[in-house]
């Protein structure tokens, strides 16, 4: 099991396009991937479920915890971190 914490800095938080990209990325791995909103102390939910991710209500500035469990857990965490740190492929201010 690998776990990481990261602050979401994207303007719209983890919803819409960022949420979709997050779910798509998590879905590429065989490992079980879970995510929770640390800031609101939410439940941990399946990161491959768009319904679950939307229910987290992650807005800009919230900290999330991502955990992966399985054969490719390290790569899953690395890729998801990169996605969030890279602001979901957007530069600041771009819509």
């Amino acid at each position: 099991l690998v776990e990481t914490r990261i602050v979401v800095t994207h303007e719209v938080g983890l919803h819409a396009r960022p949420a979709a990209m997050f779910v798509q990325t998590a879905g590429r791995f065989a490992s079980s991937v879970r995510v929770k909103n640390v800031t609101t102390n939410s439940e941990s939910i399946d990161a491959k479920s768009i319904l679950g991710v939307l229910t987290l209500g992650v807005v800009r500035g919230h900290e999330i915890s991502i955990s992966a469990d399985g054969a490719d857990e390290k790569q899953a965490i690395a890729d998801l971190r990169k996605l969030v740190e890279g602001n979901f492929g957007e530069s600041e201010g771009e819509s």
Binding site: V12, A19, I50
Partner: protein, 171 residues
């Protein structure tokens, strides 16, 4: 214009405040997602909530970033666009006469969904979307809510049901 920084974004207006009976379309007959979005925008334009361009924006965005969600037992879609053409925040709802294909949010390649209920969302602040969608998702996942919604026969029933459900979820 919002300032950047670590501060919490403003809370969105409550769901019940955005919904008016004239924004509810019961038994809407439509063949495509585009048609549903355009029809839902009409009452919002008439009420002065959005400019006419909002429908185009929402449809363009829907094609790039689909908003269908596999809620149970009925799939829903939550089309929306950036706030450029929003004058006053609002929420419009369509109960479709027959299901219409939307694609699932976050699917690649696209997963088609046969959607029964569509919410057209018009917010003035991009940053409020995540919180608003979370609240709406919690309401829509209230046990029995979607079944009850699909059986509504008047706009007043729909607004009463959603107001009650959103009030309960906040208490």
């Amino acid at each position: 214009v919002t300032t950047s920084g670590g501060s919490e974004p403003p809370s969105p207006p409550p769901l019940s405040g955005l919904l008016e009976e004239s924004f509810v379309l019961i038994g809407l007959k439509a063949d495509t997602a585009e048609e549903v979005i355009r029809r839902l925008a009409v009452p919002l334009v008439e009420a002065g909530c959005v400019e006419e361009a909002y429908a185009n924006d929402a449809w363009r965005r829907e094609q790039r970033y689909p908003t269908g969600l596999p809620t149970s037992p009925l799939a829903v879609a939550l089309p929306h666009a950036d706030p450029d053409h929003v004058l006053r925040p609002a929420l419009a709802v369509a109960l479709l006469a027959t299901t219409v294909r939307f694609d699932q949010m976050g699917s690649d390649p696209a997963i088609p969904l046969q959607v029964q209920v569509v919410f057209l969302l018009a917010l003035k602040e991009r940053e409020q979307e995540a919180t608003f969608l979370r609240d709406l998702m919690l309401v829509l996942q209230t046990p029995g809510l979607l079944e009850s919604l699909a059986q509504c026969r008047s706009p007043a029933e729909v607004t009463a049901l959603l107001r009650q459900a959103s009030g309960d979820s906040n208490s």
